[in-house]
Point group: C2
Chain length 171, copies 2
């Protein structure tokens, strides 16, 4: 089965992101809006316990941090994903690095570009149209991140939360 590690932003930001995803993201119904800390990876159901133990320790020695968004961007030409750019702070980058180092079941294929997807699997024409109309949109938003989540994927493609990890808490 597949696991992944994500941050769910505040309800306010999730609602904004969903207003775009509804039209542009076929994963809209499978998972709430999120910032991916570790991409989906394959492991057995029993592995969840040790993943959670590791993530709990990581969360314990990281601190609550601020998440800032500024604009809408795209991964083109790599792929046709449109996203809200999240400023790559040291706190976020270190959390990402440690999670991927400790749960080293896969190699990192890309450098970490923190983002919240608002559209994907668009044709080139759709991508041009949508990105053209959104690229100048300002998304000046700031909030506090105090937790992240380990998820697993069901057979229908949707994701269920296995556990929440609160930053800076003894455990």
């Amino acid at each position: 089965m597949k696991f992944g590690v994500v941050i769910f932003p505040s309800k306010k930001l999730q609602d904004l992101v969903n207003s775009y995803r509804k039209r542009y993201d076929p994963h809209y119904a499978l998972i709430p809006p999120h910032l991916t800390l570790k991409n989906a990876f394959e492991a057995s159901e029993e592995d969840a316990v040790q993943f959670a133990d590791k993530l709990r320790k990581i969360a314990g020695h990281h601190h609550v941090f601020s998440l800032k968004t500024s604009k809408i961007s795209s991964f083109q030409p790599v792929n046709n994903v449109i996203y809200i750019k999240v400023d790559p702070t040291e706190a976020l980058t270190e959390l990402h690095t440690e999670i991927n180092h400790e749960l080293n079941v896969q190699k990192l294929e890309y450098s970490f570009v923190p983002h919240i997807t608002i559209g994907q699997k668009l044709s080139n024409d759709e991508h041009s149209d949508v990105y053209g109309s959104l690229r100048m949109t300002k998304v000046n938003h700031e909030e506090t991140v105090d937790r992240f989540h380990l998820l697993y994927q069901l057979e229908n493609g949707s994701w269920t939360v296995y556990e929440t990890f609160r930053l800076g808490r003894e455990s």
Copy 2:
């Protein structure tokens, strides 16, 4: 905004339940299969912190317990909900009672019938057909419950996990 408290059963049981929900439950895309411990209730976003504090304490002095299913049943004539019946053990009932007592923002309208919904909002004819074909289905399944979750609802009706609470852990 709305909050709720649920148990997500194992992936195996969620996948089975989704094979029915896909056809019979219009909430299929809004939330993974679950057993409701506290029905949706209205509160402000800031209240989440104190709800989580209370739920963490409750989780700390309850123990991991066994969840058993046996058959498919229906709430008719109260409503046209078809569900997998979960045996009402003392552990489950006490957890339900304490959560509803501590988060007493609403009165309990019904007695607690632990269940995992597989179909709802069916017309009377649909209900008759579907329940007629499923009522003799045996669902002999047993698993261990070691956690539950506090969720909140987004504007599009879907639910995001705020926090996980592990049973029998100091916090």
